[in-house]
Symmetry: C2
Subunit: 428 residues, 2 copies
């Protein structure tokens, strides 16, 4: 399957149906697989990846050559590239996931009802997960490993630029499953780059339990529009820092600079900084602008900002909604904390939003009012990350509110089942 | 608003947009409202309902007259009817919800990361909820109360047959909120029966956080197809009882009869009974069929069933998928437990499925293998209910796997927020 190429698949709907049927069958077998077996399977997958280093590099070389021909940017080519170090990191990541605590079987709640019925709410796998991604090839092994860990079958659909690399990695994963005595169809890679396949899979309600798209805005929008199955979205990261009237000035400078410039191309980088109006007079607004300018950041400011920092570009209304993913920041001066949270709730993407303040009351009010997955007090938005939260590898950062919010680990690929035990109880 | 009638609303999209804007504004005010205030508001709502008994009966009389004219069945008219006792029950239900523990503010998880960052995962409201229902008028007060309890703003859209009753109840709820010093727009009722309004509301992504349709299959299907916002579905209840080879025969008879006949028109009534093949010889299959027949149940059996119980109708493949909601049951004999769970996973609706067995290993295997929200051991499927689970009033029974599964209470109308506190932490 993982060696099947686009041109060989004539009947895309039947092919997709077959993938889903196989995933459902594999999923049935998973209910009898223990946590120890899942751990061992992951260790076996990690070994397969290491042993296949040469094959992985060969497959990757094909993708790189095609990418160069297709005129991919050097940044894109770098993200695509697999070398010894990156392959080792992929295997290590799978081992780390293997050694995480088992998310399954947890009794989330339990009680004995007055009539003697025993009630347990127990964590179980979701079933069959579809992951659509366009990122680096290591997503293939990470996503597969998180699904195996959480007892789910998974259908992976990678980007066409990494077609051969993804297929080679999927082969390692499936071989690892087989060696551990599990069904290789627990992990399947869609063997066609035909976009129609995604549309077909997204309509298989009752067979596929969840779709997680990882990638740019347009990919996610397309998935949401086509899906008949539930989707958890990782939309844009229009993150904010709000600098309150009373705060440690140096802390504000450090956090703003780190949040904007530590890495600009990531979703938890800050895109807009809001300043309390008192920071205009205190000089803190100018101090932060200066520090950002030194780092080469282009400042798009409102009127108050431009008057303090004249080399700023005048911001337009569109700037407040922009995810620059670049050395550009929007800056606005607000009257108070309430105006700051209103701005964030209007323009933000519910990803990560921080306050810098020395006042407990302000911190509490900010956290209460801001409608965001990750509300930060006195730290850089860059900490919004599954690894930093101790979740291990992450399957994404949900900007949705339902099911999972913020960084998602293996436990977020589970649901629960109510188990009720009686002794012949009937309802009177 | 609640007195606005269909004919008065010309521009449905603008009207819906206005409802959503008002809900979002009310939702902003809710972040500063304490649990005590929400409890007091609910007690005030309960008082309003009691005091408005005459007005409620008058409004209800209009609906009943219209219903009679429209030829509603006597069962439908009975469900629609409000009398002193039912109005008192509505007020009592609101009081019970008021006295439930506050679902908000719970720290679901918490840790201090190695770098000193303090991490808290805290339960918060979803935001704005849309509830679309076609059931009895008491859903208006129950749903409103659960949303107030969980700190959400809600837009209610009831069925046209209860238009005046719902409007009168919504007026009580809004008056109760006002008297408690809260925004009355926390609860709004859609003042038009134009179906187009639902379609408009379901597309307000970013303003409405969740839609919960309560009603028949066709309503839910229509909602899912139109929605751009997340939907939690309460689909059909095609519930099963599986009678294992080894079990207490009398227990099997009692549970099958109760699960099928205690109330037939409800979602947790059993529709198909599966028997282990050994029960044919032991006579248990016949014993259960006899007991069901005494209760007037029509049996649609497979070949093995018909040979033991000749007055059974021969079942067709379609019977396995049917939610009869009537004194009809489908019966099939299976080779073993695995065939029983395979049948349930293929034909069931993931609602509630029970096993009757004396064997621990069989009970465990059944619970593991069956893909259902509520897996029952030795008790009637009729216990699948928020009240029986101790959740208080329920907003529905989710047959979905994401976010909430099975009976949903106030806590299922919440999400969480990650709150991260640092001391100037930046990422290196």
């Amino acid at each position: 399957m993982s060696t099947t190429h686009a041109t060989e698949i004539q009947d895309v709907p039947s092919y997709c149906q077959q993938l889903a049927d196989q995933a459902c069958q594999a999923n049935q077998t998973l209910s009898q697989v223990t946590g120890q077996q899942r751990t061992e399977a992951l260790l076996s997958v990690a070994n397969q990846i290491e042993q296949a280093t040469d094959a992985l590099k060969q497959a990757n070389a094909l993708d790189l050559a095609n990418g160069q021909e297709a005129g991919l940017s050097s940044a894109m080519l770098d993200r695509l590239k697999l070398d010894d170090k990156r392959i080792e990191a992929m295997a290590d990541s799978v081992r780390q996931i293997a050694h995480q605590p088992d998310p399954l079987g947890e009794i989330i709640e339990g009680s004995v009802r007055p009539n003697g019925l025993q009630l347990q709410k127990v964590r179980v796998p979701l079933g069959v997960v579809l992951i659509i991604f366009e990122s680096r090839p290591n997503v293939t092994s990470d996503a597969a490993a998180l699904c195996i860990k959480s007892g789910n079958a998974v259908i992976l659909r990678g980007g066409k630029e990494a077609l051969h690399s993804n297929a080679a990695i999927a082969t390692c994963v499936r071989e690892g499953l087989t060696q551990a005595g599990l069904s290789q169809d627990i992990v399947q890679l869609v063997g066609t780059t035909d976009r129609f396949a995604v549309g077909v899979l997204l309509k298989l309600e009752g067979q596929i339990d969840l779709a997680i798209p990882r990638g740019g805005k347009s990919l996610i929008k397309a998935v949401v529009e086509q899906a008949h199955i539930p989707v958890i979205k990782h939309y844009t990261g229009n993150c904010h820092v709000y600098v309150d009237a009373q705060c440690d000035a140096q802390m504000a400078v450090d956090i703003c600079v780190n949040a904007k410039t530590h890495r600009t191309g990531v979703c938890n980088a800050t895109e807009t900084i809001l300043f309390h109006k008192d920071t205009v007079e205190s000089g803190l607004l100018k101090q932060v602008c200066d520090a950002l300018a030194v780092k080469g950041v282009e400042i798009r400011g409102d009127e108050a900002t431009c008057s303090v920092f004249p080399s700023a570009v005048k911001a337009t209304e569109a700037d407040w909604d922009e995810e620059y993913l670049d050395l550009i920041v929007a800056i606005r001066v607000v009257d108070d904390l309430d105006q700051a949270t209103a701005h964030i709730n209007k323009h933000g993407s519910r990803h990560t939003d921080a306050i810098v303040t020395s006042q407990v009351a302000a911190a509490n009010r900010f956290v209460q009012q801001v409608d965001t997955a990750n509300a930060f007090i006195n730290c850089s938005t860059r900490f919004s990350d599954g690894g930093e939260y101790g979740l291990g590898a992450e399957i994404g950062i949900s900007t949705d509110k339902l099911h999972a919010r913020g960084p998602m680990g293996a436990a977020d690929l589970t649901t629960y089942k109510w188990i009720v035990t009686g002794n012949g109880h009937i309802r009177g």
